[in-house]
C-alpha cells in the first residue's frame, strides 16, 4: 500500500490529472477498482473486471503487460499479432466493429483505442451500460505513456504502469543518447505498399515518420502528410539510403523485387541492399514495445552503433 501510494504521487507530480485519477482509483481498496476520464471526456469506473475486451493492438499489448492477460476474453483483428493473443476470440477489424459482436463476449470492461470505429458502434457500446473506456491514440512517446497510465489506473495496476512507463522512458532515453552521437542521418523511405510497382510511402505525421526519426534516420517523403502514392521522380531526386517495409501480408516484397523498381534501382539503398522489413504492428503500433522496435530499426540504420 505504501509503495502504491508513493507510485501514485510520483505520477501526480508528472501529470496532475492522471495522478489524481490514480488516487481516486486507489481510494476504495477492498477490491481492484479504478476510475479514469477517457478520450471521450467521460468518467469510467470499473471494479475487478474479469471479462475484458481490448480493441487495438497497443491496448491489448499494454493490458497484457500490466498482467491482466488472464482477464482478457476477446481482442480485435489487429491484436492477433500480439504475443499471447493467438487463439483468443477475434471480434473483427477495429474500424468495423459490431455492437452485438462485442457484447456477445459478455464483457465487464471494453477498452478501445480511440482510432477505432465506426463511431455509431462506439456510441452504442458506450450506451450499453458495460464500462467502456476510449483510450486516446496519439503516435508519440508521450502518447504511449498516456495509454499505459490510463489503463494502469483503470485496472488498478498503477504501480505496474509506472514501472512500465519508467522502462519505456529509459529505453527511449538510451536510444536518444546513442542517436545524438550519430553524425550522418541516413535518408530513409517507408514503403507501405508496392502493389503493381506503384509506391505508397509514409509522409510526415505518420507513425512511420516518427519511427524513422526516433531511429536516427531522415524521412525523404516530407512533402505530404499521411500514406500517399509518391512519384518515382521525387525518389530519384533524393535517393534513399534505406527502405523500410512491413514483413507481413500482401505488402511484403522481396529485396530483388523492390530494387528492380526504377525509382530505387540506382539508389544507395539498392547498392547496399538496405531493405529493412519489420512487423507492421510492432513498428507502427505505438505500444509498450515501440522503444524496442525503434532501437531495432536504429540498429539496422546505424550498424556501427552499439545498441
Amino acid at each position: 500500500m505504501q509503495m502504491r501510494n508513493a507510485a501514485v504521487f510520483k505520477l501526480s507530480r508528472r501529470s496532475t490529472v492522471l495522478g489524481s485519477l490514480a488516487l481516486l482509483g486507489s481510494l476504495s481498496h477492498t477490491t481492484r477498482a479504478g476510475t479514469i476520464t477517457d478520450a471521450g471526456n467521460v468518467s469510467v469506473s470499473v471494479t475487478a473486471p474479469k471479462r475484458i475486451v481490448t480493441i487495438g493492438s497497443a491496448i491489448t499489448e499494454i493490458v497484457f503487460a500490466l498482467g491482466e492477460k488472464s482477464h482478457v476474453v476477446a481482442v480485435d483483428l489487429t491484436s492477433m499479432g500480439v504475443a499471447g493473443a493467438q487463439g483468443m476470440i477475434d471480434v473483427g477489424y477495429m474500424r468495423a466493429l459490431s455492437t452485438e459482436g462485442v457484447l456477445s463476449q459478455a464483457p465487464d470492461l471494453i477498452c478501445v483505442s480511440s482510432d477505432s470505429g465506426p463511431p455509431a458502434v462506439l456510441d452504442a457500446l458506450r450506451a450499453s451500460g458495460v464500462p467502456f473506456a476510449l483510450i486516446p491514440h496519439v503516435p508519440t512517446i508521450e502518447g504511449i505513456k498516456v495509454k499505459v497510465s490510463l489503463l494502469g489506473t483503470l485496472l488498478d495496476k498503477a504501480a505496474e504502469a509506472e514501472k512500465l512507463n519508467a522502462g519505456i522512458d529509459a529505453a527511449f532515453a538510451k536510444l536518444a543518447e546513442k542517436i545524438a552521437t550519430v553524425k550522418q542521418r541516413p535518408k530513409v523511405l517507408f514503403v507501405l505498399s508496392l502493389a503493381d510497382n506503384r509506391i505508397m510511402a509514409g509522409g510526415h505525421t505518420t507513425a512511420a515518420d516518427t519511427m524513422i526519426t526516433l531511429a536516427g534516420g531522415e524521412n525523404i517523403a516530407t512533402s505530404f502528410a499521411g500514406y500517399k502514392p509518391i512519384s518515382a521522380e521525387t525518389i530519384l531526386e533524393t535517393p534513399p539510403d534505406a527502405i523500410v517495409m512491413m514483413n507481413t501480408g500482401p505488402n511484403s516484397h522481396e529485396a530483388g523485387e523492390v530494387f528492380a523498381n526504377t525509382a530505387f534501382a540506382g539508389s544507395p539503398a539498392a547498392k547496399a541492399g538496405a531493405l529493412f522489413k519489420m512487423d507492421g504492428s510492432y513498428l507502427l503500433g505505438f505500444g509498450p514495445h515501440t522503444a524496442e522496435a525503434a532501437t531495432e530499426l536504429a540498429h539496422k540504420l546505424h550498424p556501427e552503433l552499439a545498441l
Binding site: Y93, A96, L103, S104, A124, S128
Partner: protein
C-alpha cells in the same frame, strides 16, 4: 379513361390478380422475418425468452435486455425501413424514367451523399476534429438532396423536366462527384480512408431508435404521396403526352416522384451508408410475378425490399460473428446472381 383501363388490362394480363395473394404473403413473410431478425445475433438469446425480455420480466438478464432493446430492435426496424425506402424509390424511379435501369443512384442522391460523407470524414476531421464524424448522417442527407436539386434544375427548362436529360445529367454529375470524392480520398489519412471504405460498403451496425425514427418520418411522408404517384405513374407508362391527355399534371408528378425518392433514399443512405442492388432489383423481381400497376407494385416493392434487407442483415451480422460483414457485400453477393438468374430465365417476358 376506358382506353387507359383497357391498356392496363392488356399490360397486366393474367398477372392482374396476383397482388391479392402476393401482398398478404409478403406481409406474413415480413412479420416472420422480423421475428427471426430479433431472435438471431452474435448473442444467443432463446426465442422462448424473447417475450419475457420485451415485456420487462424480472428474470430477463440486463445484458439481454440491452441487446434486444437497444441493438436488435432498432436495427430490425432500421433494416425494414431502409429496405422498404430503397425498393419503393426504385419502383417509383423506374416508372418515372420508364427505364428498367433506373435506380435511386440516378437522381444523384447516392453520388451526392457519398461526396458529402467523404468530405465530412476528411475535411470535417481536419478542421473540426473527430466530432465531425457524428454529423455524417446529416451531411450525407443534405449532400444527397442538394445534388438532386441541382440535377432537377439542370433537366428542367421552361417549367418542363426532361427525363432523358436528367438520366444523362445524373451520369455527368455522378462522374463529377466521383472525381471530387477521389480528390478527398487522396487527401485522406489511412484511418479516414478506412472509415470511408466501410461507410461506403454500408452497414446497419450503428442503428438507434433515433435513426429508425427519422427514417420513418420520411416513410410516412412518402406514404401520403403514394396514391397520387401510383395513379400518375401508371398513366405515364403509356407516354408523357398520353398521360397529359388523361388529366395527369406530368410536371407535378415528376416533381413529387423526385422529391419523394430523394427524401427516402437520402434518409436511407444517411443512416446506413450506400447499400446497392435493392432499389434496382426488387421492382424487377416483382414485375415478373405481378401486375406492373404502381398501386400494388410500390407497396409490394417496399415489403419485399424490407424482407430482403432484413435477410441480408441477418447474414451480415451472423456469418462472421462476433465480427460483422458490411451489408453492401451481402446484398451484392446474394442479389447479383439471383438477378442474373431471373433475367436469364425470363428473357422473353422482360423483352415484351
Amino acid at each position: 379513361m376506358t382506353a387507359f383501363t383497357g391498356a392496363m388490362e392488356k399490360l397486366s394480363g393474367q398477372q392482374r390478380e396476383q397482388h391479392r395473394i402476393l401482398i398478404p404473403v409478403l406481409i406474413v413473410a415480413l412479420a416472420l422475418m422480423s421475428v427471426a431478425s430479433v431472435a438471431t445475433g452474435a448473442v444467443k438469446i432463446d426465442i422462448s425468452s424473447l417475450p419475457g425480455i420485451l415485456l420487462g420480466s424480472d428474470q430477463a438478464s440486463a445484458r439481454d435486455t440491452v441487446i434486444l432493446w437497444s441493438v436488435r430492435l432498432p436495427r430490425t426496424f432500421l433494416a425494414m425501413l431502409v429496405g422498404a425506402s430503397l425498393a419503393a424509390s426504385g419502383a417509383v424511379l423506374q416508372g418515372l424514367f420508364r427505364n428498367p435501369l433506373a435506380d435511386p443512384g440516378l437522381v444523384g442522391v447516392s453520388s451526392g451523399s457519398v461526396l458529402a460523407a467523404v468530405a465530412t470524414i476528411v475535411l470535417g476531421q481536419n478542421y473540426f476534429g473527430e466530432t465531425a464524424t457524428r454529423l455524417l448522417p446529416v451531411t450525407a442527407f443534405i449532400g444527397g438532396l442538394l445534388t438532386t436539386i441541382l440535377l432537377y434544375s439542370i433537366a428542367t427548362r421552361d417549367g418542363r423536366t426532361y427525363t432523358a436529360t436528367m438520366l444523362l445529367g445524373g451520369i455527368a454529375i455522378g462522374a463529377i462527384a466521383m472525381a471530387l470524392t477521389g480528390v478527398l480520398i487522396f487527401m485522406s489519412t489511412e484511418q479516414q480512408l478506412r472509415e470511408f471504405t466501410f461507410w461506403s460498403l454500408g452497414s446497419l451496425g450503428g442503428a438507434t431508435w433515433a435513426k429508425a425514427g427519422s427514417v420513418s418520418l420520411f416513410m410516412l411522408f412518402a406514404l401520403c404521396l403514394w396514391p397520387i404517384l401510383a395513379r400518375g405513374l401508371d398513366r405515364l407508362a403509356l407516354g408523357e403526352a398520353e398521360a397529359g391527355h388523361m388529366g395527369v399534371n406530368v410536371q407535378i408528378l415528376k416533381r413529387a416522384a423526385i422529391v419523394a425518392t430523394a427524401l427516402l433514399t437520402g434518409a436511407a443512405v444517411a443512416v446506413s451508408g450506400a447499400i446497392g442492388f435493392i432499389g434496382l432489383v426488387v421492382p424487377h423481381l416483382l414485375r415478373l410475378v405481378m401486375s406492373p400497376r404502381h398501386r400494388f407494385l410500390i407497396p409490394a416493392a417496399a415489403l419485399l425490399g424490407a424482407i430482403l434487407l432484413l435477410a441480408a442483415d441477418m447474414v451480415a451480422r451472423t456469418i462472421v460473428a462476433p465480427a460483422e460483414l458490411p451489408i453492401g457485400i451481402v446484398t451484392a453477393c446474394l442479389g447479383g446472381p439471383v438477378f442474373l438468374w431471373m433475367l436469364l430465365t425470363n428473357v422473353r417476358k422482360i423483352e415484351t
